[in-house]
């Protein structure tokens, strides 16, 4: 390899070759998304092209063997469990961020941050297992059978909490110190400073954290699959057994054939589009944060 070159203003030939090679690799990495979308579309095409989309909302029920593909109960379960998880994990996660920055002594804050990071590293199947053997019996004592929408919400909340907490932590750390000093100089109380200065200043970061957490909750499979009970029905109470879109794919892919398989790919496509929208929104918010 040549270590030196004569003209330092333009890339040497080897560097040009290297750049082209790297460009090819990067393109390959970027193409994975296109490939995923393409294969999802290709596999779901058999159902999409000979039946209108309304099919998935107006059929009598989800009975793939009789060509009935109503995904509404599953869609409802997915949305409800994610919403519930967000309602629980959102405030708790933001409170954790505030705790680390404005309440805990520095050493405790460090330990707490470590703990949240550990929590973020625990795999979803372990959360699901723990929910199944510990949480579900507890909920079952309240109202049998225990595996229910409520259990799913609790486990999901525990899972997305670290995401919210760590992003809230980063957003709060990015607030200019001058803002906080100004608030202190005005003699605001601690909560006054948080509610009046810190939270509004970190607003965009917090919202994008919540959006990312929602994306995680919507896409989570294992934890929900293990604790939600998996009966296909519209939930009428928190204690009803439900099946989410993701759990449905995991349960039925093993034996699905033909149109049934295609219908599962359609639900995968729908999930991916939902998550894409959320990521896009989070992105817009983050962009606003950098230019504000």
């Amino acid at each position: 390899m040549t270590l030196s070159k004569r003209n330092i203003l333009s890339l040497s030939l080897t560097d040009k070759r290297l750049a082209r090679l790297l460009g090819g690799c990067a393109l390959l990495a970027a193409l994975v998304v296109v490939l995923i979308l393409g294969f999802l579309l290709g596999e779901s095409w058999p159902v999409l092209h000979h039946a209108p989309l309304t099919h998935f909302f107006t059929d009598a029920s989800w009975h793939p063997t009789q060509h009935l593909y109503n995904v509404m109960p599953m869609l409802t379960a997915t949305l409800l469990s994610s919403l519930g998880a967000l309602l629980l994990a959102g405030p708790l996660g933001i409170a954790s961020g505030l705790f680390m920055h404005y309440y805990a002594p520095p050493r405790l804050a460090g330990v707490y941050r470590r703990l949240i990071e550990l929590l973020a590293g625990i795999p979803s199947v372990v959360y699901g297992f723990w929910g199944l053997v510990t949480l579900a019996p507890l909920v079952g004592r309240l109202h049998p059978p225990g595996v229910s929408l409520l259990t799913a919400i609790l486990v999901l909340a525990l899972m997305v909490l670290p995401t919210v907490a760590l992003i809230a932590d980063a957003a709060l750390a990015a607030i200019p110190a001058a803002y906080l000093r100004g608030a202190a100089a005005l003699g605001l109380s601690r909560w006054g400073m948080i509610a009046g200065v810190a939270l509004p200043a970190a607003r965009t970061g917090l919202v994008s954290g919540l959006l990312l957490a929602t994306g995680r909750a919507l896409g989570e499979t294992m934890a929900v699959l293990m604790v939600a009970g998996n009966a296909v029905q519209q939930p009428h109470s928190l204690f009803d057994s439900v099946r989410t879109l993701t759990a449905n794919i995991a349960l039925e892919m093993a034996y699905a054939m033909g149109d049934h398989r295609a219908a599962l790919f359609v639900s995968g496509l729908a999930l991916m589009l939902l998550v894409l929208i959320l990521v896009g929104m989070a992105d817009v918010f983050q962009r606003k944060a950098t230019y504000a």
């Binding site: 750049a19 970027a30 290709g42 703990l115 625990i122 894409l276």
Partner: protein
């Protein structure tokens, strides 16, 4: 004033609640998992659908799947990171398209990766239910986090290095090889670790790509059961498998904790050095 007090109490309470739940979870894992854990558990094959015996073939399969994932994803992500940080300006169109697509990739749910892996690697490429298809699926999943960490590491290497290299007439390739990559090595390795952790924790993407078979794999084309899939199977499909599920979960959690804390201590150590030298 009352509001201030109330907020203080509520925030301390929520932090305490989170700590309590976490301690509960860990204590539960340790209490139920440790008694089963022994050398023979780690070195024996499972018997009676996993109720008895150990997890040796499952650990080997997990290791192979992660190895395939990392060896496919690492070169690709390193190349992409170098391109993003050294060979294109962050504002260029190409760069932004790649970064956007990686952002989207990071958000794709794992079950969708499973569907894709099944359709593409298992059926379209004809790899079947095998460790290879599982590993390649996980490689796609681990790409965004590995690229991201390596890019951040390379971008935060001081510009002095680049200027000095240019002043000495070094080619870009040489500057990378001798200066920038060594400087960013801890970040690149941390990215690798995070990718390994992401791959090791995955379940949903593996069920339909690497399969359920719990025998010792002979080649990469054999189906192999990952540790996380083993936990799922024992908990959901095998009555009376809870004790072994606990022990397997403990093994998985401990492995992931070690990898994650290695990654975070690497980045922290590296940051401290950076601050001291600059």
């Amino acid at each position: 004033m009352l509001k201030n007090r109330l907020a203080t109490v509520l925030i301390w309470l929520s932090a305490a609640l989170i700590c309590a739940v976490f301690v509960c979870l860990l204590a539960d894992m340790l209490r139920n998992g440790l008694p089963r854990l022994s050398w023979s558990f780690l070195s024996q094959a499972p018997s009676d659908a996993g109720r008895a015996g150990g997890i040796a073939p499952i650990i080997v399969s997990t290791g192979l799947i992660v190895l395939v994932a990392v060896s496919a994803a690492a070169p690709l992500s390193l190349a992409t990171a170098i391109l993003l940080s050294e060979f294109s300006s962050p504002n260029s169109r190409f760069c932004q398209v790649i970064e956007r697509s990686l952002e989207v990739l990071a958000g794709v749910p794992s079950i969708v990766f499973g569907l894709f892996g099944n359709a593409f690697f298992c059926i379209y490429l004809g790899l079947g239910f095998s460790i290879l298809s599982g590993g390649l699926t996980l490689a796609c999943m681990a790409l965004p986090i590995m690229i991201n960490t390596a890019t951040v590491g390379l971008r935060s290497a001081p510009d002095d290095y680049r200027l000095c290299a240019a002043a000495l007439g070094m080619s870009r390739g040489a500057a990378l090889l001798h200066l920038l990559l060594p400087a960013a090595a801890p970040a690149i390795i941390a990215g690798l670790m995070l990718g390994i952790a992401r791959a090791g924790a995955e379940t949903a993407a593996l069920i339909f790509t690497s399969g359920y078979v719990d025998r010792m794999p002979d080649t990469l084309m054999d189906s192999g059961r990952a540790l996380s899939v083993h936990i799922y199977d024992l908990a959901m499909n095998v009555a009376g498998g809870d004790a072994n599920a606990y022990a397997s979960a403990l093994v998985l959690v401990v492995l992931l904790l070690i990898i994650n804390s290695l990654a975070s201590s690497l980045t922290q150590h590296w940051l401290r050095n950076r601050i001291m030298t600059s």
